[in-house]
């Protein structure tokens, strides 16, 4: 990570990586959605409505993964004062919030035919909604720190806010374990390498999760590059105005 702290070295890796992540991600998303819609068999209980899983699960993963990224960036910023870490935090927040909103929207659409309700104040749903509100708060704080001139990145207060918000992540994860909830327990265990999704329905999910993750990475890289370019423009304008 220290190697990436230098913006020039970061750009040397980020510029060629961006198109690969962007187009590779889109190709995997399209392949996964096609397989999820037309190749995977219908569920024994839910029929075709389970297919929204191929969007819902990657959206949930990236909503939570985005905040994990904000947390790592915040620690890098607070401990090592990496200027790029605070730029990364600002770049992750907006796509993270959009994927969290997508997770809530697809979950709501899925809940209507299966559970019989658009929304319930269940532990999983409520903690995920809280994550969306945390993102909105982060975006507001990040914007105000840029306006005060924190060199393209976010202020230290914003980074501390990201650390506090990270406490919601274990609550989301364990909400279906700690409390009786309407949302079912998790289907995939990474630790035990097991899944209660039949393999014939699981592999398209692997494609969309990987695809959306690559695409998310590409968007974050693009946003970071735009912010760094903006900094350079501002620095040049300042030099020019001084003559």
């Amino acid at each position: 990570m220290h190697v990436l702290a230098n913006p020039r070295r970061f750009l040397a890796i980020a510029v060629p990586a961006t198109p690969w992540c962007f187009w590779g991600g889109i190709a995997l998303i399209l392949a996964g959605c096609w397989a999820g819609l037309f190749v995977a068999p219908a569920d024994y209980l839910q029929g075709h409505s389970f297919r929204i899983l191929y969007i819902h699960v990657p959206a949930a993963w990236l909503g939570m993964g985005g905040w994990s990224g904000l947390t790592i960036a915040a620690i890098m910023q607070l401990v090592w004062r990496h200027p790029l870490a605070s730029v990364a935090g600002r770049a992750i927040a907006v796509p993270g919030a959009i994927f969290t909103a997508l997770c809530l929207a697809t979950g709501s659409i899925w809940g209507r035919p299966t559970w019989g309700t658009w929304w319930e104040w269940d532990g999983r749903l409520t903690s995920m909604l809280l994550l969306l509100f945390l993102y909105i708060g982060y975006i507001a704080l990040a914007r105000s720190s840029v306006e005060r001139g924190d060199a393209g990145g976010v202020s230290r207060v914003t980074a501390i806010y990201a650390l506090i918000g990270a406490l919601n992540l274990p609550v989301i994860h364990y909400s279906v374990v700690w409390w009786n909830s309407l949302h079912q327990a998790k289907s995939i265990s990474i630790v035990r390498m097991s899944s209660s999704i039949d393999p014939s329905m699981l592999w398209p999910l692997g494609l969309t999760v990987l695809g959306f993750t690559l695409w998310f990475t590409a968007i974050v890289l693009l946003r970071m590059r735009a912010m760094l370019a903006e900094n350079r423009i501002e620095a040049r304008l300042r030099r020019m105005s001084r003559g």
């Binding site: 559970w115 019989g116 269940d122 009786n180 079912q184 327990a185 900094n231």
Partner: protein
């Protein structure tokens, strides 16, 4: 980028900040875990039948009751919208009745959450029913195959 002065970025200061951040995180996580364990029963989305009977929920108080719909317990009345059923969690079983349209996934041997209140006769009068489904997804042909929720293993020999 921000120019960092040398006295603020020395190895010692970085070490101090790392320890400080980790301590703060550990303290906050501890606080949240304490709060969550205190919330445990209050934040539950529903009572199971055994919990509702143990808590002696008084008749008329609005609660949610969740469990499995007992096999053979669904009886639909002649009016087409009233349904009697029993919810069980393996320890206790509660009779319930509901008038209205049930979700598609509401079925025997399947999870359901009923919103409503106990009547004076001990029958749960539901005003709304939500279907709960488990974490399994499989093709129709595999229905009925033995499945172990602990190991996620499907026993294909024991059909």
């Amino acid at each position: 980028m921000v120019a960092v002065t040398s006295n603020r970025s020395g190895p010692k200061r970085k070490h101090q900040r790392l320890v400080l951040v980790l301590l703060a995180l550990a303290a906050m996580i501890g606080g949240v875990l304490l709060a969550m364990s205190a919330l445990r029963s209050q934040a539950a989305y529903f009572y199971t039948p055994a919990e509702a009977l143990a808590a002696k929920v008084e008749p008329g108080r609005a609660i949610r009751l969740g469990g499995m719909v007992e096999a053979g317990s669904i009886k639909r009345h002649g009016d087409g919208t009233t349904v009697d059923f029993r919810l069980t969690d393996g320890e206790a079983t509660v009779p319930a009745t509901f008038t209205g349209i049930t979700p598609d996934l509401f079925a025997e041997n399947s999870g359901a959450v009923a919103e409503g209140a106990f009547g004076p006769d001990g029958v749960f009068r539901a005003t709304n029913i939500l279907a709960k489904h488990d974490e399994r997804y499989m093709p129709r042909e595999m229905e009925g195959i033995d499945y172990d929720p602990q190991t996620h293993q499907v026993d294909s020999s024991g059909q």
